[in-house]
Amino acid sequence: MKADLRVRIGTLELKNPIIPASGCFGYGLEYAEVVDLASLGAIAVKGLFLAEREGHPPPRVVETPSGMLNAIGLQGIGVHRFVREKMPELRRLGAVVIVNICGSSLDEYVELARILSDVDGVAALELNISCPNIKEGGIQFGCDLGSTHAVVSAVRNATRLPLIPKLTPNVTSVASFAKAAEDAGADAVSLVNTFLAMVIDVETRRPKLSNVMGGLSGPAIRPIAVRMVYDCARAVHIPVIGMGGITSARDALEFMIAGATAVQVGTACFVDPFIWPKLLSGIEEYLERHGIERVADLVGTLRINGA
């Protein structure tokens, strides 16, 4: 018998715990010809502001050992074009759409939530309060406990959609931010966004990115991300969606054992756009081998001290 891969994020039931991460999967349609979007637990689309955004000039990415830095600057088509141009096709393909929203003010988050609450096919909102690459908004809400609470509360009052603040690791205690989000009414938290980082060309003494700094992702950050997910999962009672350098079913399982109810996969999809069925079959194979009937039963089952 095949294992039950369903997991629950607030009121939202996902058919499996695998979600392409925001910023790494375009608006989903870019990948529609290489993966059945309906086969995924959900898809987290690229972060949206109200208005279109140009993003940073290139170079926008640079590779590092087992990782990469990006400073895209949230280039995007804005929420109105997204709803008009992308949602109809995403609905038709049966994608479970988590829309990642970014605001430069509290009001912008609220307005985005209002607009998207009325859009058929939007399954949940991921609140981007953690993008390290833009000056205005985003991370300014995610690096201060009071601001995190305020923005989550405000959006909570504006929508009944499941609300998932996406947390930054660039703080002293991510778990305290997870707690602030929970207290403000979040249905789940997702983490980690990228680690603020730099690469310098020593010959020219110039930064490798036009934005000087960027966010580090990829396998290089995975052990830190696992630790942070573990910390957060112990601090809150709402589901944690884990991410950070997942490249295989083993990595996804590691996050789930640490306490993640579902996982997002970003950088690995750049390397292998066909990764999704491999992740799912790897998880199924593991569950079968360990005699676990429901993947949800694996969540937070880390054994410590001979347990």
């Binding site: 010809e33 926008r60 590779e63 087992s66 895209i72 999809c269 750049f270 756009p273």
Partner: protein, 272 residues
């Protein structure tokens, strides 16, 4: 355009053309069967995570045995970093993940227009397949090809044997004109009657592409440029490879060169 596939392509041959350049032949029948000139593949040079990302390469040749369907592609690679060093050192039987074909191809012109291809260094890469497509149209082809030195110019016999007229340039003057390849191009553009049709195709370093686009505009000739930006995924997911380009309304945006390119109309690209 057919959907891209990812194949674990076996190395059928690796010809080292110089201390830096090699042509790697990869068994990839599906890609070979559908790739068009100007399209690219994303190759993963290691099974590990360092380097992590794939690298983009133009499809250099589509290879087929007489009477058979295409079975392989080749890439022209210049060794500049870890990934391209790995490809340079590859031996027959090695396997590399190869994703493609990707991107917008060139549009081949038909007679009476002529096709002038302008290549700088490893920018020769898309012009073998383009030559094949143009020959099927019966189009007269000329190749302006520049490199640092005569040791950086390759496949000259290949192009000559297919009736391509060569205009060579080297920065050290060891072969062809002394200097940049855009100098002989400019002379030829000035000499060509305005009433005779012409399409310019260019691939090479960005200063060269910009110079070709400027020349094309000044001589009121259309151009198609194959751009090369730092690319993360090749599929439109990462937004790394953007280039400023005009849309159909004349507005300028960052567009993804993996999806909207890598081939652009020269008039549409806005250079920084």
């Amino acid at each position: 355009m057919p959907a891209p596939v990812d194949v674990r392509a076996e190395v059928l041959a690796n010809s080292r053309l110089s201390a830096d350049y090699n042509v790697l032949v990869l068994a990839a029948p599906t890609i070979a069967g559908s790739a068009r000139a100007g399209q690219f593949v994303m190759i993963r040079a290691t099974d590990g995570t360092d380097p992590l990302l794939r690298r983009p390469f133009s499809v250099f040749e589509v290879l087929q045995r007489p009477g058979a369907a295409p079975h392989a592609i080749s890439i022209l690679s210049k060794r500049v970093g870890v990934a391209t060093s790995r490809l340079f050192e590859a031996v027959v039987g090695d396997r590399f993940d190869c994703l493609g074909p990707l991107g917008k191809p060139f549009t081949a012109v038909a007679p009476p227009s002529e096709a002038w291809m302008v290549a700088g260094g490893v920018g020769l890469a898309p012009f073998a397949t383009l030559t094949d497509e143009l020959r099927r149209e019966g189009t007269t082809i000329r190749l302006f090809y520049g490199g640092r030195s005569h040791t950086d110019l390759f496949y000259l016999d290949w192009f000559e044997s297919r009736g391509v007229a060569l205009d060579l340039a080297t920065e050290d003057g060891s072969r062809g004109s002394h200097g940049r390849v855009t100098a002989p191009l400019e002379r030829a553009l000035s000499a060509r009657p305005a009433t005779d049709g012409l399409m310019l195709y260019a691939c090479g370093p960005e200063p060269m592409l910009k110079a070709v686009a400027d020349l094309a505009q000044r001589h009121q000739r259309p151009s198609q440029l194959s751009t090369e930006r730092i690319m993360g995924c090749g599929m439109g997911g990462c937004y790394s490879c953007v280039i400023r380009a005009r849309d159909e309304h004349g507005r300028v945006h960052f567009v993804r060169s993996c999806l909207n390119g890598p081939v652009f109309n020269g008039d549409d690209v806005v250079w920084e």
